[in-house]
Subunit: 337 residues, 2 copies
DNA sequence: TTGTAGGCGTTATCAC
DNA sequence: GTGATAACGCCTACAA
């Protein structure tokens, strides 16, 4: 007779069974909380489990059930503050629900790359995927692929029909713009995110809607790339223009760079121009001047995404969260005209 | 006879075998690049594979080989810029080498939590772990646990004997401090990171060594928590002290907060006090005044960690990278005395 | 309530 | 060089 430890193997369900004096099937039932099992039998089994320090083999389970108890994160971001914080929330919620998390970073957002990433994730048999790929393109590819794995996106594209959850970007952008209007600004620019990005579109829409509702002129938005460096150059460029007194910037990084560009060009914030950003990154409150911006709870967003995904996986009713609220944080960079 | 597609299953190695007119074992050999296989047989098999769009089942493979082709990331950070960038590098390198990545965020750094996390990762049968847990405590627990899974840490504790790789924090901190000295400062403070953090210790050591070597007085470091908010309060407090003209801050977030605290307290940077940070986060170049800081390539660090880990896993010689260089970025926040 | 048989898709081991 | 056969550890289905 050879026991598990003698053979240098991890204890299996059969070793537990032998020690508990039951069949391996009974052990399996205990593990899966099968209803019909006598309490004392269950106790014996649990005892044996703890004696042997037995832990179910996940691969074996995955093989036979075709479920991995693993969620995938498909991300196409470059370590920005927002997505990163969301990932923390996703992992947290997933682990809490007993799922492990496999992350996959997209280096390119071509249809091929996306397809390959999805295939990889499906090979890993993830039970569901959280998509953190804020580009419109990815969204379209995803919809066209008819993935058979449940997935949730953390961005709501206009006309989205898939399951998605996000903070209300349009409302946030509206609030930011309306704030500038309420300060007495009438000529308000928008430094937007890249063309393909969903948030960029939503934030731009909020900007446009607010101006239109107030019967103020709109300007063609400037397209940035989210980076502080771009903001800096934009600041230098815009300093030549003096046809505006307020600017809503699609994210804080660019806003901080922009203020730098203004500074070196002699444009004073907020004396000459009021600036409002978006995201409320941790340093936003501390730059000079401190940045008025739109706060959103990225971590909570990630948590909710997992709850939605799990409901989908389990075939339960998908919880109906309203869009996550954003809040305007008033700081020094915006002031009365 | 029932084919895979008829039964709604994914094609298996046997389906490929049937189509190619060989045994399933031969297919397996093709998949694993077994040497002794006739080229034409191999061709037939590869053909069948592509016709069926067959993809090996990872769970089955993991079950029988006890290897998952998966690396684990054990992280105990809160979404800071550095670790986040490293994770990008880790994932990249891992996927490139054909490994998937399972990430696990530690919410607490108690020995129990760490033990649980390691057990979880080992249950997932990860082939190796990259540890991004910069606390000394975690490091000790890890060493004491005699983990049977290869692992690499991204921080070098003094007297480390495990496999680890990191940028040369001490040298970077020395350079930062020596820079202040070279500007003519003689009274230089240090705003340090939390007690338990490895980088905090290294950076403090660099500070102390530089001052000692220059025969300058050292001050007891102030312990911060890495956040900009803490830096702000520290700035307000320190503004009451006027016994120093230079300060080396252990990370950029705190440095930016500190400058804010100085600002509201009437301390001018760099006129009254020169400030140097660490990390070179993207906004460091754009805050006002722009922040002199120490740059390090976090992403490359992550990549290297994976290469080291894979060598360990495969039993190859572990590549000997020297410590990653750091470079001082000179900006406005530090100036001649 | 419990046990027995069979199979999930792959690799390892032995024949041929 | 190739093919049977037997695991790997678990779960589902059916039998007792």
């Amino acid at each position: 007779m050879s026991t598990a430890s003698e053979r240098g193997r991890m204890p299996s369900i059969r070793d537990v069974a032998r020690l508990a004096g039951v069949s391996h099937q009974t052990v399996s039932r205990v593990l899966n909380d099968h209803p019909s099992i006598r309490p004392e039998t269950k106790a014996k089994v649990l005892d044996a489990i703890s004696v042997l320090d037995y832990r179910p083999n996940l691969a074996a389970r995955a093989l036979v059930t075709s479920k991995s108890n693993m969620l995938g994160i498909l991300s196409a971001t470059v370590g920005e503050f927002g997505p990163t914080s969301s990932i923390v929330g996703i992992e947290d919620a997933a682990r809490e629900a007993g799922y492990s998390v496999s992350t996959l970073n997209l280096s390119a957002t071509t249809p091929e790359a996306i397809g390959q990433a999805l295939r990889q994730l499906s090979r890993e048999q993830v039970d569901g995927i959280v998509v953190l790929a804020p580009q419109v393109r990815v969204f379209h590819v995803l919809r066209g692929m008819a993935v058979d794995i449940p997935f949730v996106t953390l961005q709501t594209a206009s006309g989205s029909d898939g399951v998605s959850h996000s903070a209300d970007q349009v409302a946030g952008a509206r609030a930011a713009t309306e704030h500038l209007i309420s300060l007495g600004h009438t000529d308000i620019l928008h430094l937007a995110g890249p063309q393909d990005w969903i948030e960029a579109e939503s934030r731009m829409r909020g900007y446009l809607e607010a101006l239109r509702d107030a019967d103020l002129p709109t300007f063609p938005p400037i397209r940035g790339d989210w980076t502080a460096d771009f903001g800096f150059f934009a600041g230098e460029e815009l300093s030549r223009r003096r046809d505006f007194t307020g600017i809503f910037v699609a994210n804080d990084q660019m806003a901080i760079g922009l203020m730098h560009g203004f500074r070196v060009s002699g444009v004073r914030v907020p004396a000459d121009v009021s600036v409002v950003g978006f995201d409320d990154i941790p340093v936003a409150a501390h730059v000079a001047p401190s940045l008025t911006t739109v706060h959103q709870d990225f971590t909570e967003l990630g948590r909710r995404a997992v709850r939605i995904l799990l409901a989908q996986i389990r075939g339960e009713a998908v919880p109906e969260f309203g869009p996550l609220q954003t809040t305007l944080r008033l700081r020094e960079s915006s002031a009365m005209r």
